[in-house]
Every structure is written in structure tokens, then in C-alpha cells.
């Protein structure tokens, strides 16, 4: 009896909250309100442009003129264009060589950093610098390093007596391609190394102890412990790296702008050149859209080829 008498006091102490508070405490409404800014922005400025880009690829839109639907005309034109095929070739070549270089050297650097070292945290901070600094600005530094007349590399080679003439870094086709790839590798190493280092540090030392007791050589320890344990993280980092190398724009635009004679155009720089300064938005969009199949393929390949092991272990990880 006492209990029923005291309940009114309880409800008095907790006044009914205002309408606004109640609305915001409604879970369904709150979920909607919380997701709205992020999903709204992404829909308007990412999903919609993606669809619009695919539509534009099938029109003859130019700057200042709304285009009409022309079907596959842009693509049939591009498929007969040797510059487009040159860009496709260089994009694939650039991605393949740069990825191999980045991951080879990045893994090596990660293994070095995983040892007992003095000033480890300072070292890690310094190593990340090339990744922090705006790409265009370091690309300009590379442009200066690759200068035909005052290249510091040419100077060193001449001082050492290895060469008598300046190296023509970006003036002719193949040296220009490899110079760009070298700059891309330089920029990519820190990210790969630091991410793989994180992966290395999650490997339990007891595995190595067990392998040592079994008499495993350093190579065997790498091949049968380090590498398999590193594969899941390697798959993720490689997927990212391939996507962002294939669609790279800044390095090439800053150092060669696609020259000499269009030999270093990537699909992204060609799309920019045709689309924005050239004004042919439809054609530029068609070049950009033609990157999508490569990206999907590269993503699926690197993810499925490398991440398979993780699924086999049945880890429920998102």
C-alpha cells in the first residue's frame, strides 16, 4: 500500500520532457538525423556525380552547351585514338611498376623499422614526411631534381665520372616514364611501410620463438610466419594503393603534363586535358568512366587473391 502511495511523488520528480527532447530521443528519428548530414553530402556530391559522369560519357556535352545523347560515339572515337590507348598502356604500366616498387621497398623498410632501434618514434615521424607534404609541392621538387640542365643527379653522376653528359630525365619517352614512376614510389613508400609495420607489430613473438626452437632459418621465418600473417593487411593496403596509383593525377600533371608527345598521359590527366581546358566534357567523362572497369578488376583481384586466407580462418571482422 505504501508503495502505491509514494508513486505520484516519483512522477512529480521527473517532469515530462519537452517535445523537442522527446523527438530527439526517438531512436528512429535520431538515426535519421545523425545519418542525414553525411549521407546527404555523399549523395549530392558523390553518388549523383558518379551517375552524372556515366551519363555525360554518352553525350556530346561541351563547356557552356548541354549535350545530347550520342550513344557509344565517344567510346568508338576513343577506341580509334592512339593517344587514348597510349594512356591506357601507361596507366597500367605505371600502376604495375610503381606498386611492385612501393611494396617491395615498403616491406623492406617496415622490416627494418620492426627491429630494436634507437629514436624509433622520431624515425617513424620523419619517414612519413613524403606522405604528409602536398604531392604537388614535392612533385615540383622532383621536377627541379629532373631539370635537364641543372639536375643534381646529373651533377653527382658527372662528378663521380659515371657519365659525361646530363641525363635527359623528362625530355624523352621512356626516361620520362621511369622518372615519374620513381617519384610515385618515393611518395608511396612511407604509407606502405608504416601500415605494414603496424601489421608486423601485431604478430605474436611466440610464433618466432616456436620457429626458432624448430630450427627455422630467417628466410623460413619470413616465408612461413611473417608473410602469411601480413597478408590480410597487405591486401587492404594494396587495394588502396592500386586504386590511387591508377587514378593518379597530380604527379604527372605537375612534372610532365602528359608530355613529351603525350607519352606520359595517365587516363586521369588525359581526361582533364580533354575535359576542362579542351572543353569536351563528354569525351573527358568517357575517358574517366573507362577507368572504372580497371578499378573494379584491380580491386577484386587484389582483394580476393590476397584476402582469401582471412576468410578461411573465419574471422568475423568488418
Amino acid at each position: 500500500m505504501d508503495a502505491t502511495l509514494t508513486t505520484p511523488h516519483w512522477s512529480k520528480n521527473r517532469p515530462e520532457p519537452g517535445l523537442l527532447v522527446r523527438v530527439f530521443d526517438n531512436k528512429a528519428f535520431l538515426i535519421f538525423a545523425c545519418l542525414l548530414p553525411a549521407l546527404g553530402l555523399l549523395t549530392v556530391f558523390l553518388t549523383y556525380p558518379l551517375g552524372l559522369g556515366i551519363y555525360l560519357a554518352f553525350t556530346d556535352t561541351t563547356i557552356g552547351r548541354r549535350g545530347v545523347f550520342v550513344g557509344l560515339e565517344n567510346f568508338t572515337f576513343l577506341f580509334t585514338d592512339p593517344i587514348f590507348w597510349g594512356a591506357v598502356f601507361f596507366s597500367v604500366f605505371y600502376t604495375a611498376v610503381a606498386t611492385i616498387g612501393k611494396f617491395g621497398l615498403g616491406l623492406w623498410l617496415a622490416l627494418l623499422l620492426n627491429q630494436h632501434l634507437p629514436f624509433k618514434s622520431i624515425l617513424r615521424a620523419i619517414i612519413l614526411l613524403p606522405w604528409i607534404v602536398p604531392t604537388v609541392l614535392s612533385a615540383i621538387a622532383f621536377w627541379w631534381i629532373y631539370d635537364p640542365q641543372f639536375s643534381i643527379i646529373s651533377y653527382v653522376f658527372k662528378e663521380l665520372g659515371w657519365r659525361t653528359t646530363n641525363i635527359d630525365f623528362i625530355g624523352s619517352e621512356w626516361p620520362a616514364r621511369f622518372s615519374l614512376i620513381a617519384a610515385n614510389i618515393w611518395r608511396g613508400i612511407p604509407f606502405v611501410a608504416i601500415s605494414l609495420l603496424a601489421g608486423l607489430q601485431t604478430i605474436s613473438p611466440s610464433l618466432y620463438e616456436a620457429a626458432l626452437l624448430d630450427g627455422a632459418t630467417p628466410w623460413q621465418r619470413f616465408r612461413f610466419i611473417t608473410f602469411p600473417m601480413l597478408l590480410p593487411i597487405l591486401a587492404i593496403v594494396m587495394t588502396f594503393s592500386i586504386i590511387f596509383t591508377f587514378t593518379d593525377f597530380q604527379l604527372v600533371y605537375a612534372i610532365t603534363r602528359g608530355g613529351p608527345v603525350n607519352s606520359t598521359h595517365l587516363l586521369a590527366t588525359l581526361a582533364f586535358q580533354r575535359g576542362i581546358p579542351g572543353g569536351e566534357l563528354g569525351e573527358g567523362a568517357a575517358i574517366a568512366v573507362s577507368m572504372i572497369p580497371f578499378l573494379v578488376f584491380a580491386t577484386l583481384f587484389s582483394y580476393f587473391a590476397l584476402a582469401r586466407r582471412k576468410w578461411q580462418q573465419g574471422e568475423g571482422n568488418d
Partner: protein, 291 residues
């Protein structure tokens, strides 16, 4: 690998030390030299007088005999460089604030409010990060023109969150996951509303995560290039990376001193900002990858 040196017996002390020198410190030194050389070269060019810059025969190119501030003076007083810096700063801060706001709410909804299909929303936001800007810039340019924002820094403030929100949301989901759910349950039992919980319990605990998301957003917006190149036309509205490449490169004779001074000054804010928070940065970078 890491145990190789410690496992060596004492009799092989000297031998293992020499070996360690060759297999560890020598390659590491090479990496450091190659990774840092472009910055050294940038810095030394920025302070070199033109006479030394283009004369390798009488001056050692690796050193400066008479340092000068002429390139920096030229940059600061004869070009719109201060203006470009202010624009870039404004755009980066604006885009960072928008993305932090949107991604905190989204991450909270996905990780803490837990609704049916929340992991699919998370996956969709993650996939958005994989859409590269070089596919989007042409259609976005037409959208920006239609919105009447062409040549305005506001276009960049609105567009940059498209690549910032996915990353920040992803990072913050990981962060919220590490905060014990029991704390929120206690607060719910005590009668706190969900917004009170977010403001007074979850957010204060997530401050380190918010800081690293903020650093990421700021550096990524500072470094962004292709949108700024495509959407901004007039010289005074350009961001630093675009302006250095398009405004300072004039004619066939490149002003390397001024170019390098501009690159150095444009890199410094990010480098300084980053050096304050480097521990957050590294741990969140590695944490985000581990997720």
C-alpha cells in the same frame, strides 16, 4: 626477424654487430637519405641566390655560401602568396569542420545506435572512399557551375567532405568501438537522453579520435589538387598547391628559387601541424588500417 640479433650467442658479438650495421643501419640510412633528400633540396634552393643556383662549376650545389631571402621576399610581396595561404587555410578549416560534424554523427549512429542494416550503411560509406576524385571532377564541375559556385572557395568546402567523411567516419567507428558500451547503458538507466549521452559521455572520451580525424581532414584538404584546379579560375581564389603550379610557372624560364620557396612555405603549415600530433597520427593511421 626481430629476434635474429638478440638470439646471437656472445662469442659472435662483434660479428653480429658488424652484420647489424650492414643489414640494418646501412639500408635504413639509404632510405632516410632518399626519402628526405627532396626536402633538403627544396630548402637549400629556396635560400640560394640565383648566381649560385645556376652555377655548379664554381659553387658546390649541396651547400649555400651566401644565403639569401630574395626568393621568399619576392614570393611574399610580389605575388598573391599570402592570399593563397589564407584561402587554403579557410577552405581546409571549413571542410574539416563540416566533415567532423557529419562523420561524428554518422559514426555514432552506425556504431552506437545499432539499427537493422547499420553495417551496410557503414560499408556504403567505406566504399565511397574508394571512388577516386579523378573520376568525379568532370561531372562535379558541371554541378558546381549549375550551383553558381564556380570559381568560389565555397565549392571546395562543399566538395572536399566527399573524400573526408568516409575516412573520418571509418576512423571514428573504430574509435567509438573502443569506448565501453556499459558507460552508455549506465547513463541510459540514469535517464539521460541519447543526445546527452553523445555530448557528455561519448564525445569527451573520443577526443583523441576526433583530433586525429581533424588532422587527417586538414592535411588531406590542404593537399587536394584536382578539384581546386578544375573549379577555381581566378588567381586570387586559388589554393597554394594549384597557385604555385599555375601562377608561379611563367614562360620558359622557371623561377626555381621562388618555386622552391613557395613549395617549402606551402609544406610547412602541414608539417608543423602534423609534428604536434604525430603520435595521434601514426597510431590512428595504423589503427585505421588494422580495422
Amino acid at each position: 626477424m626481430s629476434n635474429a640479433s638478440t638470439a646471437a650467442p656472445e662469442t659472435m658479438q662483434w660479428d653480429s654487430r658488424a652484420r647489424r650495421m650492414v643489414v640494418l643501419y646501412l639500408p635504413l640510412a639509404c632510405f632516410l637519405i632518399i626519402l628526405l633528400f627532396p626536402f633538403y633540396w627544396m630548402a637549400i634552393t629556396a635560400f640560394k641566390p640565383d648566381g649560385e643556383l645556376y652555377d655548379f662549376a664554381t659553387h658546390n650545389p649541396f651547400w649555400i655560401t651566401s644565403p639569401t631571402l630574395q626568393h621568399i621576399r619576392k614570393l611574399l610581396f610580389e605575388t598573391a602568396y599570402p592570399r593563397w595561404l589564407m584561402t587554403t587555410m579557410g577552405v581546409s578549416i571549413g571542410a574539416t569542420i563540416i566533415s567532423l560534424f557529419a562523420s561524428t554523427l554518422a559514426a555514432y549512429a552506425i556504431q552506437r545506435l545499432r539499427f537493422r542494416g547499420s553495417q551496410y550503411v557503414g560499408l556504403a560509406i567505406y566504399l565511397a572512399y574508394l571512388v577516386p576524385s579523378s573520376i568525379l571532377f568532370i561531372p562535379l564541375a558541371t554541378i558546381v557551375v549549375q550551383l553558381g559556385l564556380f570559381d568560389s572557395p565555397f565549392a571546395l568546402i562543399l566538395v572536399y567532405p566527399t573524400f573526408l567523411i568516409p575516412f573520418c567516419t571509418w576512423l571514428l567507428i573504430g574509435y567509438f568501438k573502443s569506448i565501453p558500451y556499459e558507460l552508455e547503458e549506465c547513463a541510459l538507466i540514469d535517464g539521460a537522453t541519447r543526445l546527452q549521452i553523445l555530448r557528455q559521455i561519448t564525445l569527451p572520451l573520443a577526443v583523441p579520435g576526433l583530433i586525429s580525424a581533424g588532422i587527417f581532414s586538414f592535411t588531406l584538404s590542404w593537399n587536394e589538387f584536382i578539384y581546386a584546379l578544375a573549379f577555381i579560375q581566378s588567381s586570387q581564389n586559388k589554393t597554394v598547391p594549384v597557385a604555385i603550379l599555375t601562377e608561379l610557372v611563367t614562360g620558359d624560364v622557371y623561377q626555381w628559387g621562388a618555386l622552391m620557396a613557395g613549395s617549402l612555405l606551402g609544406s610547412l603549415p602541414v608539417a608543423i601541424f602534423y609534428s604536434f600530433f604525430v603520435d595521434y597520427y601514426v597510431s590512428s593511421l595504423t589503427g585505421a588500417v588494422k580495422e
